[in-house]
Point group: C2
Chain length 364, copies 2
């Protein structure tokens, strides 16, 4: 039986991307070393949840923070609160914002918020886009990095200019910081320095941090207090969130210091993709975080066949998931993590030589 790309990736000797398998061992590694006498959080109260919220609030430089089971829940609530404050139903965000394409329109269906889409979907939101926004926008959401276009970032100065513009016009600025930690090495800023430009911030614990699940929403005291009411309304105020919290806390301490390494890995790996393989290129050309997209000028099925052959001959697994980009093109997302440093460089080089070769053969 022919392997699927995902099977070939999962059984490759050296999967290149990610931290490791998403399996029960992740949880066991956290809890094997924890004292069983630690009390559960109870409906958002208790030391386990309160200490973690305080820790992350301090890290983000915000007065207060609330742990949520998901970013989907946290961000809809953030936008709802800013809309309530302004007495408006309008928010602005990128056309490929998570809320627009991955949440089954929860923002519209549950909160009746009308998003205004800024910029083209193939590029970042600019200061000019923001200046041209219609009146009555309660909140502008910026995602750093902009994941769906390969993880791109505006210059920090442009971000500061956007923040100043919004502040002067009473437009709240919310940060989708699902990958905030991952961009700090490139910006050369602390999380608090970046977050100081924003009124509210969401961060995730299962991307670069590699936890099981969970999110934090941070902002002012009144904002987070109100967010807890909405968390209850959404059904996110679980009796016990500690399985996620204690794991996130441990993963945060373990992986935060490695963000520079993940970023450097991405730059190095993107260099290998951009070494003259016909029709293959990365976006951005030089990554600004631990992620980038690989784009190919040939169809998904062709790319998959080539990749499977490369994995099987070299033991190097580059991705488990190629997507159709339309017009006979394809692409995939790459996020670097704990696995990359363990890949023998000569094996990796060999894999890219073979990729080069096979793409050339296919193009003939």
């Amino acid at each position: 039986m022919v392997k699927t790309l995902l099977e070939a990736f999962n059984t490759a000797e050296y999967p290149v991307v990610g931290h490791g398998k998403r399996n029960v061992q992740v949880l066991k590694d956290t809890f094997d070393h924890l004292d069983g006498e630690i009390d559960s959080d109870i409906y958002g109260t208790g030391t386990v949840i309160e200490d973690f919220q305080t820790k992350i609030a301090a890290y983000l430089g915000k007065p207060s923070a609330v742990f949520f089971p998901s970013g989907t829940m946290a961000q809809q609530i953030a936008l709802r609160l800013w809309c309530e404050e302004k007495g408006s139903r309008k928010v602005a965000y990128h056309p490929l914002c998570h809320l627009e394409i991955h949440e089954q329109d929860g923002l519209k269906e549950l909160h009746h918020i009308e998003p205004v889409l800024l910029s083209d979907k193939d590029r970042l939101i600019t200061l000019d886009d923001v200046k041209s926004m219609e009146d009555g926008i309660a909140c502008l959401l910026l995602e750093l990095p902009q994941r769906e276009i390969g993880g791109q970032l505006p210059a920090f100065e442009e971000l500061e200019a956007i923040a100043a513009y919004c502040r002067a016009r009473d437009i709240r600025l919310h940060l989708d910081g699902a990958r905030l930690y991952e961009i700090l090495p490139y910006y050369g800023k602390t999380a608090a320095e970046v977050c100081s430009l924003f009124d509210s911030v969401y961060v995730s614990f299962y991307k670069g941090i590699g936890g099981i699940a969970g999110a934090i929403l941070a902002g002012g005291e009144e904002f987070t207090k109100q967010s807890k009411i909405w968390k209850r309304r959404h059904g996110g105020d679980l009796i016990s969130l500690y399985p996620y919290i204690l794991n996130a806390d441990q993963a945060f301490d373990e992986r935060l210091p490695k963000m520079e390494q993940y970023y450097r890995s991405a730059v190095e790996l993107a260099g290998l993709y951009n070494s003259g393989i016909e029709g293959v290129t990365t976006r951005p050309l030089v990554p600004v975080s631990n992620m980038f997209h690989v784009h190919a000028a040939f169809p998904k099925e062709t790319f998959e066949t080539i990749l499977i052959a490369v994995y099987e001959e070299t033991g190097i697994g580059l991705t488990g998931n190629v997507r159709d980009a339309g017009d006979g093109a394809s692409y995939y997302e790459v996020s670097l993590g704990d696995r990359y440093p363990a890949i023998p460089k000569d094996r990796l080089k060999q894999a890219f030589e073979l990729l080069h070769e096979k793409v050339k053969q296919t193009a003939k």
Copy 2:
């Protein structure tokens, strides 16, 4: 320093109610014995979540089931779906329904559903209440047992009559079965027999079952398929729910056979409360599940002082939480579980003798 009631309960030699402490050990006990190689569920897919959903659907006698992080989320969604089907915004439920008093009005704020409150808050919904409902009700929610009035149940025949009435009028019937397992011994029915009267059913895994958190919503294929879309909208479609699922699965197998025991414990303990202690009585007088309420004709603070003294002198902890019932009265909820059989009967008897004595002294 004087102990609070909760402290006195938590440090009592023999806490009488519940299964045990809600601490990290609950999770460790589940995962210590599980293989680390078990793959995480991914956004609602994967063996871990699908197998459990299939298992519980079969147990409830429904075609399909979906795991949710919380009952709050599951039930709002169930009612929303039935409202969509009918093209109505009206549902009917008890005045002390969980959705009415414990969810910060999520049903109204997120779904704009208008509940019609049936019956007085001090009694069960009857067939007559149902017959007197206004037109246009999309769904009637019944909670079995009715928790906030001590866990009372209608006769099964009345339930059947209500179901028949609703079916004949295209009113959907939804079961808040947070404590469904706990009532099966009294009804002498299987879960599937009870659920056959309902179009949709929610069950919980952290009450009688004693799991960490989580819920199942069960019903027809199309209903549960639609519920997954709303689960994503609510922010409940987490990348990984396995910490709850694997624990719930184990707790379900372990505790389901003990529901008869928990029920018998409640009947026995209620008998001790109803042994002539002045101003103290249980509701219902004879429990029909593992739960009941203890009502006292004196204020919360008085009751707390008496209870703390009883715990300290006898080592028996009866409750950690007394609530104000208004008009100088007070009450608390009792749920029996794994702890009860281990209590030495003579110590328990001694505690009730002392309770009797101290209440008498206070009344003077």
